[in-house]
């Protein structure tokens, strides 16, 4: 933790974040079909990375801190992938549901 970054680094990050916000808002009004969630999540990821790297100082952090910054992403990737494996390969047969007594 030596001398902090010059102000312009933060300002440029902020400007980039707002520009990405405008972009994602604009793109959402176009008909991109299946690419729409991909685009909006990709832009969200870029924003989050900018916040993490420049505002949260990850670019100057130790390897250990970066590891902890990433570990939950791995954990969630496991949660989503293996649960997703169930949902992707399971056939769901909707059946009519009857209410129990009193509900």
């Amino acid at each position: 933790m030596n001398s902090p970054a010059p102000v312009r680094i933060y300002t440029m990050t902020w400007v980039a974040l707002l520009a990405l916000l405008a972009t994602t808002f604009g793109l959402a009004h176009l008909d991109l079909g299946a690419m729409s969630p991909v685009a909006s999540l990709a832009i969200a990821t870029v924003k989050a990375v900018l916040v993490a790297v420049f505002f949260m100082h990850l670019r100057r952090a130790s390897a250990l801190v970066v590891l902890f910054a990433l570990v939950a992403i791995f954990g969630l990737a496991i949660l989503f992938t293996l649960s997703g494996a169930d949902y992707a390969t399971r056939e769901i047969h909707a059946a009519p549901w009857t209410a129990p007594e009193g509900h």
Binding site: T24, V51, F55, G75
Partner: protein, 210 residues
């Protein structure tokens, strides 16, 4: 990172340790919100049309405004942290105030949205009068209120913490441990912002072109 407290000077050791501790805590927070994201993934993949219809009940301009507010608050928080590292106490107080104000503005806008959503009858279980895509809208807004509500609680805690840090800087001193505290407060604040960065497209930008 060096093994023991003896390899580096105490000042640096303290600030690195505080930072590591906050990152470990943020990892737990990310897992906490992550469970919600799985629930969202389930709902959206099972009825994409219904979710798209439901999402049109959100207020995209207010949501976008709020995103801009929160991103800006991260900017001012980062400047506060930077100022604290340079010993600029007055500047830090100013930026902390602005950050808290922006966070409060976000919460106010959120409150306005919630009030509108109540009037529009999209609050499942409490005030729900939707006639089409009933199930999908109920599930979508269930997730919306839980996600944005939990987020708002986190943000409110952040606002209180930032105000408290600013209040503690009344005395004309900026000791090293205060700098560390402001640094980890900043990390928490940016995390809450980053979560919102994902909530925004998931709830507001699903289907705006239809």
């Amino acid at each position: 990172m060096s093994a023991s407290v003896h390899a580096i000077d105490p000042r640096t050791w303290r600030s690195e340790t505080a930072s590591l501790a906050m990152w470990v805590f943020l990892a737990t927070e990310l897992m906490f919100f992550g469970a919600l994201f799985l629930a969202y993934l389930y709902v959206r993949s099972h009825d994409p049309g219904g979710v798209a219809a439901a999402s049109r009940h959100t207020h995209e301009w207010l949501g976008t405004l709020n995103t801009a507010i929160l991103l800006t608050s991260s900017f001012t928080m980062a400047l506060a942290v930077r100022g604290s590292q340079l010993g600029q106490r007055e500047s830090v107080r100013r930026f902390l105030w602005i950050t808290a104000a922006l966070g409060t503005a976000f919460l106010a806008v959120k409150g306005i949205e919630y009030a509108k959503e109540w009037d529009e009858g999209v609050v499942p279980g409490l005030h729900f009068t939707v006639a089409e895509h009933v199930r999908a809208t109920a599930l979508f807004f269930y997730l919306y209120f839980v996600a944005t509500g939990v987020h708002a609680v986190h943000l409110a805690i952040g606002v209180v913490t930032v105000l408290w840090q600013s209040w503690r800087l009344r005395a004309p001193a900026l000791p090293p441990w205060r700098v560390d505290e402001i640094d980890v407060t900043g990390l928490y604040w940016h995390f809450v912002d980053a979560i919102w960065v994902f909530l925004y497209p998931l709830f507001y930008l699903v289907d705006l072109h239809g």
